[in-house]
């Protein structure tokens, strides 16, 4: 009897542990797309002085919205997540090294990333034409597009340092 009970318990535990991993619904996948941490970035080279060059993906109902989302993701990645290494460039750390910076300074970033907000000032060059070919994926509801951006990384860092959001390297000295 004990052996049967033990076997039953192990089976139940195994199911409980395995089930959630397979239970990603469409709704959850959508949350993942919309997640502020889910930046899809591919470095393409080393930028000129104080800039970072990479390819970034964005989502939207139409191509224009997806491009704007990609621009927002490009700046947000530089601030919160950092950039991966590749294409000859080394990994770049995030400007805000403080954990949960996006929540601590929520009001600031809400204004910073509003439609037509200040974040656009730090995107220097993008391919202005609508992305095409492999950089434009039609999905069931909307588009996933990739754009090539040059983010003015040093200027962005200086702005955040001046606004007291990021810490200066020489602060305290």
């Amino acid at each position: 009897m004990r052996k049967v009970l033990l076997g039953f318990t192990v089976a139940v535990l195994a199911m409980v542990m395995v089930l959630p991993t397979n239970a990603q619904t469409r709704k959850e996948r959508k949350i993942l797309w919309n997640s502020q941490y889910n930046y899809e970035i591919e470095p393409v080279g080393v930028g000129q002085d104080g800039t970072k060059v990479f390819k970034v993906w964005g989502y939207g109902k139409d191509v224009g919205t997806a491009v704007m989302n990609a621009k927002e993701a490009a700046v947000a990645a530089c601030i919160f997540k950092g950039l991966p290494g590749g294409g000859g460039s080394a990994p770049t750390p995030p400007i805000c090294s403080q954990p949960n910076a996006e929540q601590i300074h929520a009001d600031y970033f809400e204004k910073f990333f509003e439609v037509g907000g200040k974040y656009l000032q730090y995107i220097a060059v993008t391919n202005d034409a609508d992305p095409s070919g492999e950089d434009r994926i039609k999905m069931k509801k909307g588009y996933k597009v990739a754009i090539y951006v040059q983010v003015m990384y040093d200027a962005l860092r200086k702005q955040l340092e001046a606004d007291g959001i990021a810490r200066r390297l020489d602060s305290g000295f």
Binding site: V46, Q48, G88, S89, A90, T92, L169, D170, F173
Partner: protein, 319 residues
Amino acid sequence: MKRILLSISLLALAVIAFGQAKKPIIMVVPSDQYCISRGYKMEFNNQGLKQVLPDYKTALQTDPDLRLVITKMGQIMADRGFPLKDLEQELKNLEQERAESSMLTSSSSGSEMAESPIDALKRVAKADIIMDLDFEVKRQGPQKYIVFNLKGLDAYTAKQVSGVAGAGSPSTSASPELLLEEAVLSHMDNFNAGLMRHFEDMFANGREVKVQIKVWANWGENLESEFGSDGKELSTIIEDWFADNCVEGRFNLSDATENFMKFEQVRIPMMRTDEKGRQRAVDTRSFVSDLRKYLNGMGIPSKLYMRGLGEAWLILGEK
């Protein structure tokens, strides 16, 4: 919780309003491997033992790639609020200073300036954080790529406080100069992030320094001699003082005999309030000076010898 927040705010306000911590001096120095492998070296016969030392002056005068990398790094660091001390200029200044010191005499009596052998020995290029640089342009068939290695070393604790290393992507068309510039631009943000972590740790847990206690040979006492009303050994008295005065009592007595004590990983506060109520930055010299005063009160005279921002010796027995 409110009290803790209030005290932290007051402390931060005090630091901002009254003073700032001592800023470390940073200098780029080409690594020994870089200099020696390219022939920028000096060879000595040290009592039958062949000794090879890097010749920085020749390296800086003849290697354009090295100058390019140092200039680029200096530009980035200055932009981040840390202008670098230039090794080439510092070597020139030291030569000039040496020449002027030997010629300078008093106008009234013709007296020379007082200089002990140790004063002369101290006239060398120094920095608190050394950016130890090494790079090489490598070839793979028709392609060229850069292998870049940069270490941030604390000159006193000899600890690596930051570092980046890696190979760039190979190119057939780009010139080595362009590849070198790319290597610097690509790695410096990461290097500075490491430096930032080091500074944050410094402000949270105190500056990490090294202190040595030594004894003059003619003193007649040593670190095992007993002092005070309760007859404590001097080494125990000194250890207790460190426990009371280090940030959170953090230090490590790494080695000791009756003649010396070597304290490492000593965490000293960044700021303190002086007798006039002003906030003053603390360096190892001022920290150990408090120990000197404490021991003086027990009838133990001593000489304080400074070895930079992060290391000091206290030699017991006399000034």
